[in-house]
């Protein structure tokens, strides 16, 4: 071995060192190739070309609107200075390759460590740029998202719902004051909220001019110590909230549920009074008051329901996966299928199919299943089952392949048939690994079922993605809490089962 290495080293370079270096400046790596380091030269050439190609792509991508390379380059550097750093590294790499070629041809004990460091560095920085990695954004915007994050972390305000009721008390205001206004009398039932205004007529405010009539508004029978909004309703039943000095006007009721305040009849662009010469408006006090005991919120109930659905989704797909993958695993194990060419072919075909299925993610299978059976948990179960069959089929068959063949031979030697041999010699050996792989898969399936809903495969993931899209972070937080809680319990249970059975 060492002799062989020496003979390789003793072969002289095809070109003198300086030429090797210069040729490397023309085509990076060419110098190495001619200095009888063909493979290293080829690798360096490919590395350099791909790095340079990526850089050009990123420059033209950063300055898409510019025309001409110089303009593009300037714009790109200006927008993303990191591209300049990459250029510098690439140039250094280019020079290093030439220098290394020179050294290689000169048979100097050259140390290519620095060269490879630059190769790795250039790709690392390229990756940084392509990945649009920006820690400053993380720090800056991360801070802003903190309140949102807090809602996710502690979402329990949304777990309870306080039943609410809209309390409205309203009084008529005649504009302007006339003698002959016809205002139907109000009937207020005992205990209902009501308001009165004095006077009950007046003039509108003028645009940037005199204020309208000031009315004394008194309300009673509202919820105590609660915020109350004031609204106006004009004669054509347009509603608008009362502002004063640009601010919405709010008043808090006293402990008896009463309030007293002044309101000024606001300004209106076209005060149509109709043919009667006057209009009847209403001024209203509106209060959203909670009544009765708090109840569990709809979001919480939905989360619980969907979490149960999720757990069963994971469970059913594991059960189906196990049942179906057991027979598959037997025909996918080499040691049971090496009897003749037919069984060997079956083995090869089954193994290949399993590998293909396994290489496609469960989420993709979910999308396919949704096309087949529509949205909902059944699609999720199908997807996870398919993936489980492939994954478990492989794990199981590997467990079968690694069994001790001795007992199998011994049972065969007693005159047992195939089924008896499998039952007595194979099954006892594969129970522990099967149990452990099954639990492992169950674990994966429940985890997967929490996200499979994001593409519509049923389970809590569906709620989660919807609430996130609606920016309802508290509800999303509830869903996340449920997922975390379930997965933690599952972890505990599965490790317990593993300890008992394996």
């Amino acid at each position: 071995m060492s002799e062989k290495v020496q003979t390789v080293e003793e072969k002289p370079s095809l070109v003198p060192p300086v030429l090797a270096g210069l040729l490397s400046l023309v085509v990076p790596g060419l110098g190495h190739m001619l200095a009888r380091q063909f493979r290293k030269g080829l690798v360096l050439l490919l590395v350099f070309l791909s790095a340079a190609g990526l850089w050009i792509w990123r420059v033209s991508d950063a300055a898409r609107r510019e025309v001409g390379f110089t303009a593009m380059f300037k714009k790109a550097i200006q927008l993303q200075p990191i591209l300049l750093i990459i250029l510098v590294v690439l140039v250094l790499l280019y020079l290093l390759i030439a220098y290394d070629a020179y050294k290689t041809a000169a048979k100097a004990k050259s140390n290519s460590f620095l060269l490879w460091v630059f190769v790795l560095a250039s790709f690392f920085i390229l990756g940084w740029q392509i990945g649009e990695i920006r820690p400053d954004v993380l720090v800056r915007d991360g801070k802003n998202s903190l309140p949102l994050l807090m809602r996710v972390l502690w979402p329990w305000e949304k777990a309870l719902y306080y039943p609410e009721e809209l309390l409205i008390g309203s009084a008529d205001v005649v504009i302007p004051c006339t003698e002959n206004a016809e205002v139907p009398p109000r009937v207020v039932e005992e205990g209902d909220p009501y308001v009165t205004v004095t006077p009950n007529c007046g003039d509108l405010s003028e645009i940037a001019g005199a204020e309208g009539t000031k009315l004394r508004m008194v309300g009673s029978n509202f919820a105590p110590n609660d915020e109350t909004e004031i609204w106006w309703v004009d004669q054509v039943r347009n509603e608008f909230r009362y502002r004063y000095g640009g601010e919405y006007v709010k008043i808090v009721t006293d402990e008896n549920g009463s309030f007293e305040m002044d309101v000024i009849i606001p300004y209106r662009v076209i005060p149509t009074t109709g043919g009667k010469g006057y209009a009847v408006w209403q001024v209203e006090a509106r209060q959203v008051a909670s009544v009765g005991e708090p109840v569990l919120s709809e979001e919480l109930k939905l989360s619980v329901e969907k979490m149960i659905e999720t757990i069963f989704l994971g469970m059913m797909s594991t059960v189906f996966g196990v049942i179906l993958s057991i027979p598959v695993s037997f025909i996918a194990s080499r040691n049971l299928m090496s009897a003749n060419w037919l069984t060997k072919t079956i083995y090869m075909v089954v193994r290949t199919i399993l590998n293909i299925i396994r290489s496609i993610e469960s989420l993709v299978w979910a999308v396919i299943a949704i096309i087949a059976v529509g949205l909902g948990p059944f699609a999720g179960i199908l997807a996870l089952t398919v993936h489980s069959i492939a994954a478990l089929g492989k794990l199981y068959s590997e467990a079968i392949e690694s069994i001790d063949h001795g007992p199998v031979e011994a049972i065969q030697a007693t005159g047992a048939n195939w089924l008896q041999t499998v039952w007595y010699a194979v099954i006892p050996q594969i129970v522990p690994p099967f149990v452990s792989f099954t639990i492992y898969r169950w674990d994966i399936n429940v985890r997967m079922s929490t996200v499979i809903g994001m593409v519509g495969g049923g389970g809590i993931g569906y709620l989660l993605i919807q609430w996130i899209r609606l920016l309802d972070y508290r509800s999303a937080g509830i869903a996340i809490w449920f997922i975390a809680f379930t997965v933690a319990i599952l972890d505990y249970v599965s490790s317990e089962i593993r300890n008992r059975f394996v």
Partner: protein, 273 residues
């Protein structure tokens, strides 16, 4: 009578493990197969119960050609041939009882056997096999909780369930200490003498061979290079020894039966007796 005729086994990779092997084993014999590692002893034994299919030649047992049997016929033949292994080959996670009952599978209907419904006669048979091997109290332990010697006794008890006429033992004592080796071989000897079961056994230690065999076959590179009866083994010459074990081989310990008593192994034998 077991008659091996021109048996040849060539493995898929081209290894010639047996070449034109012929010999006969009269009923009631304790035949020992000796030879270096790789000489083909295991291959020979496995050909006899068809765990391996021979490439050429015939194996006649009471006139029936074993090499031609298929399917149910093969299984009916196998159940009359017990096999004991160097590594015991018990199902480690199953109980001793289950391992022993497994010896009855060739007789039991498939469905009843896999639902563990053996009949009363079979259970009695298992009890007496355990008793005979002195492991009755181990019946409900898991096989891998037993010592090597105990495991091998379970292995023999399993073959007893087959009510065999022939027992193949492939280096049954190679993983055991000398004391246990004698104890196991004495069990085989008692099956041979008292029950008239023919034994074909491969062994490594010459003193054990001399002590237990009634006839010997020497294999070298898959060919029979030595055949001898009890008397001849005790007087095996250096030349014969070298023809089996090669020119460089040194004989250690006893040359003849009377010298064998000085051996370490034989000391163990006395201890068990």
């Amino acid at each position: 009578m077991l008659e091996i005729r021109n048996l040849t086994k060539i493995y898929d990779d081209g290894t010639v493990a047996l070449h034109n092997v012929s010999f006969t084993v009269p009923d009631g014999e304790f035949l020992v197969v000796i030879g270096l590692s790789g000489s083909g002893k295991s291959t020979l034994l496995r050909c006899i119960n068809r765990l391996i299919d021979p490439t050429e030649g015939q194996i006649l047992w009471d006139g029936v050609d074993i090499t031609a049997l298929q399917g149910d016929d093969l299984r009916r033949m196998r159940r009359k041939i017990g096999m004991v292994f160097q590594q015991f080959n018990l199902v480690k996670r199953s109980t001793v009882m289950t391992n022993v009952m497994a010896g009855r599978l060739g007789y039991a209907p498939t469905w009843r056997s896999i639902t563990n419904q053996f009949d009363e006669a079979d259970r009695k048979r298992a009890q007496s096999a355990l008793k005979r091997m002195g492991i009755t109290d181990q019946a409900n332990k898991r096989a891998d909780e037993l010592s090597g010697g105990q495991q091998q006794r379970v292995g023999i008890a399993r073959t007893l369930m087959q009510e065999p006429k022939l027992i193949l033992a492939d280096e049954p004592v190679a993983s055991l200490d000398p004391v246990l080796a004698h104890s196991i071989l004495q069990h085989l000897e008692s099956l041979n003498r008292e029950d008239g079961i023919t034994i074909v056994c491969s062994l490594h230690y010459l003193d054990l061979v001399q002590r237990y065999s009634t006839s010997v076959i020497g294999l070298r590179d898959g060919q029979v290079v030595y055949q001898g009866n009890k008397k001849q083994i005790l007087r095996m010459t250096d030349a014969e020894f070298k023809s089996i074990y090669g020119e460089e081989a040194e004989r250690m310990g006893g040359i003849s039966g009377d010298l064998a008593a000085d051996d370490e192994d034989s000391a163990g034998e006395e201890a068990t007796e």
